[in-house]
Symmetry: C2
Subunit: 467 residues, 2 copies
Amino acid sequence: MYINRPASFTDYYELTMAQGYFEAEKHHQTACFDYFFRTNPFKGGYVIFSGLKDLLEVLENFRFNESELSYLKSEGFSEPFLEYLKDFSFKGDIYSAPEGEVVFPNEPILRVEGTLIETQIIETLLLNILNFQSLIATKASRIKQAAGNCKVLDFGLRRSQGLGGIHATRAAMIGGFDGTSNVYAAQEFGIKASGTMAHSWVQAFDDELSAFRAYANSFPDDTILLVDTYDTLNSGLPNAIKVANELKEKGHQLIGIRLDSGDLAYFSQKARIMLDEAGFPDVKIAASNQLDERVITSLKLQNAEIDIFGVGTRLVTGDQTPALDGVYKLASVNGEPRIKISENVEKITTPGPKMVYRYFNSDGSFYGDAVAIESEPSPEQMNHPIYTKKTSQLADKKSKVYQQQVMAKGKITSPLPTVQESADYCKLQLSKLTQEYKRFENPHIYKIGLSTKLFKLRDKMLNNHQK
Amino acid sequence: MYINRPASFTDYYELTMAQGYFEAEKHHQTACFDYFFRTNPFKGGYVIFSGLKDLLEVLENFRFNESELSYLKSEGFSEPFLEYLKDFSFKGDIYSAPEGEVVFPNEPILRVEGTLIETQIIETLLLNILNFQSLIATKASRIKQAAGNCKVLDFGLRRSQGLGGIHATRAAMIGGFDGTSNVYAAQEFGIKASGTMAHSWVQAFDDELSAFRAYANSFPDDTILLVDTYDTLNSGLPNAIKVANELKEKGHQLIGIRLDSGDLAYFSQKARIMLDEAGFPDVKIAASNQLDERVITSLKLQNAEIDIFGVGTRLVTGDQTPALDGVYKLASVNGEPRIKISENVEKITTPGPKMVYRYFNSDGSFYGDAVAIESEPSPEQMNHPIYTKKTSQLADKKSKVYQQQVMAKGKITSPLPTVQESADYCKLQLSKLTQEYKRFENPHIYKIGLSTKLFKLRDKMLNNHQK
């Protein structure tokens, strides 16, 4: 269970609006909301959509319990409304991209249909889950991309944002991480946890060699020695090599050594030479200390001899971009499309229930995405959302709608993929996104457009408002 | 309860080390760990210490449950060790600064004493809670400082880092926020929640005026109208004034209007004039949209007519600094001081159990903090931690040790303050920190030093290692 009181994990105004709709007798009207984001995080070229399974499981169990109802009573919510909430559950329909999908700005990734109250009241919960997990899955995919064939492990729990650390790890795995130090998440989501020793282990013994030996004694087949507590090259590595030899004599093998400070490129190269010369070419070198996709890229360019990267803070918080700007916007009420005008052109919403057609190049790679009106057949042209003269012809391209119905009348429609399955899907989809969209510096901008029908609908509604 | 399985909210290596200590028969040895951070976040001059109550409550209930033990068994942990964990609880002592205290880099804010296993195994949990809440309390205090006498409300839940949003709100209140939109946190921590309407409310009705009237009808004494859905000055404000008049006729009063886009300085000034001219000088103006301490400062400099600031993403994530770099370092084992050397001078630890004397100027403001050996009397001199020639004389200054024992043998020693009490304490302590440490640009660096006894102890241990 994501949280013990999901209905309260919300902004207060979702509840005042719900009471307002109830009192205005609008609560049985239907509505449709879109989830989308406006800007790629990390100045990157894409987002990995994540968090869907958690969201759907929470929505299936969305109820107001006794303590919540009595809290709301104390806050002055009305008796008839509280009576209504007592039996309330989410019974809407949801159409969504699969978890792990590669998605882009300003396309409706997920669509919620139901009554006005039920679609409104889940807003904050939905945004919180999808925004955060999509952010971290995206960051993880970038770090994995930088690391190439090296392993990347999540070490972030101690600096993650409170309990957010649990789902940061989940999202990191979907984005391509190979393992985590986070025991809670490992048990919860069936992922691989690992870890060996901290500096305190080494300090807790009278000397470094005794500390290494004691660890190897307890975990003869699973030892990675942290070599930088006192002096990496003059003490840590020689002691690690001693223990590697002792393990070998007993029929075991040292798994690796870890560097956690200093110049990781320099020390890893020195360490590789020392280990190789001592007859341990298979002993891995792990490194950690403020890593991210840019530092890893730089280490790779310097030919650092690192096999495993432990990444913490900058993975689990998103570092310089600690939030995805995902929003949840009303698209229609009672079957009628709605629009929000704004002082900022890019904040004008696209009206009506919609879906996304993804178009492919002949080699199977992604060409671009067209946002269309819900039941509209595959558009033959897409139009730039703002510049009216820019269009793309699509008639010769294969396409596929990427949303599927994932919830019907409040019930999950089919078994949801595990974290590993979503990670595999993510990897497959990323392989169809060509490199120019994935580079870290000035990535190419992916084509997103509106179908001509949708473009005209929006235009008409804008004109009506201007009158 | 902070989390359902606190013992698992940890890095895997805490558990492998615990088994290693157990098997090396070191688990009954005693140890002392320090919690401290190295750098002020946000390029600021101080940190607000937060999260202590949550930490202590979790530690009182720190147990491994059946599911955790069987998970660890499946991971290959040894039977005798799992047997040991079955009865394990935290029985250590903790000395800490109070929640809401103003603290500084490289001073041991909190000290944990107990057996080697129990002091080690809580590391990740402790760091996660204290790092995150201290980060957000600090950010909140900066935003409140910028807002001056205006109210600041937390609107961040939808962009907070997953479940981290719960304690982000708690910490924001300790740092000085006046309220929140977060219903979960409000109920959990007894704080004030508020909120009125989203753009979707306005869009859900056939026109803006009907939407405003319906809301005012449901909440005649608690209405803040969001005026920027279609056209702030030509539609939103005129409609709000109509509804304000209608409420007045019925003996009620419109509380305020809210701006959420466009130029907040310009629109707030226009709104103030329109409201005043219509006879509503008491109707408040609330503003939101990507605010933080710098934007608020800028709005104030432009004489924006804003009474209430709603702050979201940049508060609850910490924005550009989404983590506090707090660490937990071994200071002694079995009564003997321990040190960690490092390639980076500033990462060398200070050995032994310690406490912090805070010194005061004659007007009661903070002068500086001296880190001393645990039972040492108030030092008469403090020494710069790195530059050996720099000292401060303290003989004529009043001082006070800021740590108190807060946990004895695993039990909380006295009732912990509520969020409001910690917020009050924080406000009082901040009033003793003079402005030069609080400014946003190049704040003055607060004096932190080591007592001469402690300085000599560290020196001696460093010399021993170099031999």
